[in-house]
């Protein structure tokens, strides 16, 4: 009964979405407030029904109802409870349900918090949001129904893929989807603005919080996925330039560009057409990502052709929304009035520079990801585009961008003084040179590029602080005045500084890990010791342990430095009988922000076990930096000027119109 209710709720949500997609838009055309007013309650009710549907599927998983085909395929009664929850989205059908749940959550949020929006814009944006929702409800109902029943209910399920039986699954997909799907709001607003043919700085003010929220979730989601891969896969890599990773990186790059260009639009009423384009682009890339990972096209163009139902359906959604969005853009954008002039050297100019390189980096990833598919489809020729290509092309595109980061906030709007900014960055230059020298001295010789990477990272970090300290008058005025200024300074200024500083932190982590990673592969017997970078690892013994739905063999290591015990590590191998698969659980030990990484390989007949040992200097900075970056976004989001409905002098004033 519960699965059928869930199924029915989804059908009702589709019906509501269809109403929300048409009635308010018609109302906006004929100027009927009652019809436009339908959008809000419809969006809220839609969310309620999808949430009920999602709860129904969750209930099936938690209760281990194996008569539901999806549960039978992806669950097991002995699985720990947390994985019963997370396996709801650990499969295609369930993850699509999560996708629409988040989509309807965003729609409902606009309905709930968008009270200060102009009536027609709100109605149009919610209608566009409902078009997207309707398309995906239909996709689930037609091709990917998670509530299908089996005639004869099996006694036991086939278990969740062991790799997914990890707390990472609880956090990574929801965050990633919050990011992906969050960009649907800026898309809907962009389309609504194009339909109305009117756009102004206020538009950017309404859209920026949504874009910022989506961006910060996506940042955290990508970082979480990267860290998960790092500890789960057993060979210490953290970014693989896999097409599926690229699919999440592209919206992130476009979204980052969008955030920056929206600032120009809000403050200076310039770059309007470009901002609209980025809003469409960011969500289009999210849709593209969904298509890439859902359709099977990544394996080969031919697998896609052999089982095309889902792929073709998503391709159709893609064509309608991306094609439709860009057509509307091409038609309407020339009619929008441009405003806000600026000299090339100015804050606006710096942000254009930022956008140029971010979108170019995005385009490079796009071409690299899709080129093999296109080539194979056109010429039957198969080539591979992997990590070496991306490292070679993506890196150089980020260097000019990062060099420009500290300059941006120091330049004035309209017309800036680049020499003046450079003078104010003297301290950052000096410390970057110190970083260069120290890095050279520490590493000696190879790799030559690494110290320059360190210097750039230091420059970005100190540069980000320069702007802040100048605004606060740090060390120039009495501390009390500085504190008073800090209280007065808008949060978004802190947000910018923190996020830019974090970019330097991530870079430092990436450079250090890439250049100075040490690795050792060896075979050990119980009682033997190996060393790496001054750490001695002694294998004390192998311990078999039972788990809830797996068997585990852990290797107990004692780690010493200069003869002093500093800790124990227990990497293990798990075997999951249900799927006849095994996973490696690496052991990690953090030393400051560096890590020691230990994972197990095969055990040979004579009891020797293969181990892989890494010392990864400063590796944690990569993820700490990403979290810091998201924190910067959160600070900016909490700025009261950005808060939806903040500039409201009198609360009850129905005639109040947002500033044009």
């Amino acid at each position: 009964m519960i699965p059928e209710l869930g199924h029915y709720c989804l059908v009702l949500a589709l019906a509501l979405a269809l109403i929300q997609a048409s009635v308010p838009m018609w109302g906006a055309r004929v100027g009927d407030s009652t019809l436009m007013g339908v959008a809000g309650p419809a969006a809220l009710a839609q969310f309620a029904f999808v949430a009920a549907s999602f709860a129904a599927l969750t209930w099936c998983y938690v209760a281990s109802d194996f008569s539901v085909f999806n549960v039978f395929q992806n669950s097991h009664s002995a699985m720990p409870l947390i994985y019963k929850f997370t396996s709801v989205w650990g499969n295609h059908e369930g993850s699509m349900l999560l996708w629409v749940l988040i989509l309807s959550l965003f729609g409902a949020s606009v309905a709930a918090f968008g009270g200060n929006l102009p009536e027609t814009l709100r109605a149009d944006a919610l209608a566009v949001q409902a078009w997207i929702a309707a398309a995906f409800y239909l996709f689930i109902l037609v091709t990917s129904n998670p509530f299908l029943r089996l005639a004869d209910a099996p006694f036991e399920g086939r278990d969740l893929n062991p790799i997914l039986q990890d707390p990472g699954l609880a956090i990574h997909p929801p965050l990633l989807y919050l990011g992906y799907v969050g960009f649907s709001i800026s898309f809907s607003f962009a389309i609504a603005a194009l339909i109305e043919g009117r756009i102004d700085a206020a538009w950017a003010r309404w859209v920026r919080p949504w874009a910022l929220a989506a961006w910060l979730c996506l940042t955290l989601g990508i970082a979480m996925g990267s860290y998960w891969a790092y500890y789960e896969l057993g060979w210490g890599g953290w970014w693989f330039w896999d097409p599926v990773e690229n699919a999440s990186l592209m919206p992130w790059l476009a979204g980052t560009a969008l955030l920056h260009s929206a600032v120009v639009m809000e403050k200076r009423n310039a770059l309007k057409i470009w901002t609209i384009l980025l809003a469409i682009l960011a969500f289009s890339l999210s849709l593209l990502g969904t298509f890439l990972v859902r359709s099977g096209v990544l394996t080969s163009v031919h697998t896609f052709a052999s089982d095309p139902t889902r792929g073709v359906f998503i391709l159709a959604i893609l064509a309608v929304f991306i094609g439709g969005g860009f057509t509307l853009y091409a038609w309407r954008a020339p009619m929008l009035k441009q405003g806000g002039l600026f000299a090339p050297i100015s804050r606006e100019g710096a942000l254009v520079f930022n956008n140029l390189f971010l979108t170019s980096a995005c385009a490079t990833v796009f071409v690299g990801t899709l080129y093999p598919l296109a080539l194979e489809a056109l010429t039957e020729e198969k080539i591979s585009v992997g990590a070496p290509f991306f490292n070679f092309t993506f890196g150089p595109l980020l260097v000019p961008l990062l060099i420009a980061v500290p300059f941006g906030p120091l330049l004035a709007w309209k017309r800036g003084d680049v020499l003046g900014a450079a003078q104010r960055l003297m301290l950052a230059f000096a410390l970057a040179l110190v970083g260069l020298g120290v890095a050279f001295a520490l590493q000696g010789g190879q790799p030559v590029l690494a110290p320059f990477g360190v210097a750039l990272a230091v420059f970005v970090m100190i540069g980000a602080l320069t702007d802040l300290s100048e605004r606060l008058g740090l060390f120039r005025v009495p501390l009390g005045v500085t504190l008073a200024r800090a209280r007065g300074l808008p949060r978004s200024n802190f947000g910018t500084a923190v996020a830019h500083f974090a970019a330097g932190v991530v870079l430092l982590g990436v450079v250090a890990e890439t250049a100075w990673n040490a690795e050792r592969i060896a075979t050990l017997k119980v009682g033997e010791t190996i060393s790496l970078r001054g750490y001695d690892f002694t294998l004390d013994g192998l311990i078999p342990r039972p788990g809830p739905n797996y068997r585990e063999v852990a290797a107990h290591f004692t780690i010493r430095r200069d003869g002093v015990v500093i800790g124990v590590m227990e990497p293990s191998k798990r075997t999951f009988p249900q799927r006849a698969m095994s996973t490696t659980e690496a052991a990690l030990m953090s030393r400051g922000v560096s890590q020691i990484y230990l994972s197990l390989g095969e055990t040979s007949a004579d009891g020797a076990v293969a181990v892989r040992l890494y010392h990864k200097p400063l590796v944690l900075l990569i993820w700490l930096g990403a979290v810091m970056m998201a924190f910067g976004g959160a600070l900016s989001l909490s700025d009261r000027r950005l808060r939806v409905g903040a500039p409201k002098p009198a609360r009850r004033k129905p005639a109040l119109q947002p500033a044009e």
Partner: protein, 153 residues
């Protein structure tokens, strides 16, 4: 398996059994040769995996290829000779960094072309905006400006 990939992103794609790639018994005695072998392995695709280099993959075929690479290096092949040999045997598919040729020209030139087009586009748009923005005042406005200036003087 394939349909699982999306959710976890890359994790599931990388194969069902994450484990070891290079095995201890494969490693060459000569550290210089071994370093070359590792560097080369990172540029070679595991033919049966999705987007994994043979250095990262634990598929049996990847292991065979790693051993083959080391055998050829020990036999005295240069990096270029070895790459040519592998391409002749497996096709260009084996290279994770495609060679520059007519059918990859678009791929390799993409980053430069995009930056160039973007830069030209922004410069042109900026110039157009400045020309369009330098609007001339209407006669009445001119008169008002003149009147204001007169009053100040």
């Amino acid at each position: 398996m394939r349909w699982l990939a999306p959710i976890m992103l890359f994790l599931a794609l990388l194969g069902a059994t994450p484990a070891f790639a290079v095995q201890p018994d494969e490693i060459l005695k000569d550290p210089v040769l071994e370093a070359r072998a590792r560097a080369l392995s990172q540029e070679l695709r595991c033919m049966v995996c999705q987007n994994q280099s043979i250095d990262d993959s634990d598929a049996p075929l990847a292991r065979d290829l790693r051993i083959l690479v080391r055998e050829r290096l020990v036999a005295g092949d240069s990096d270029a000779q070895l790459t040519d040999f592998l391409v002749a045997r497996y096709g260009e598919f084996v290279l994770l960094r495609p060679r520059l040729s007519w059918h990859t020209a678009l791929l390799w030139s993409a980053p430069f072309v995009v930056v160039l087009i973007g830069a030209i586009g922004f410069v042109a748009a900026g110039r157009r905006a400045r020309v369009a923005g330098a609007e001339h005042l209407s006669p009445e406005e001119e008169a008002r400006v003149a009147a204001l200036i007169e009053r100040i003087e």
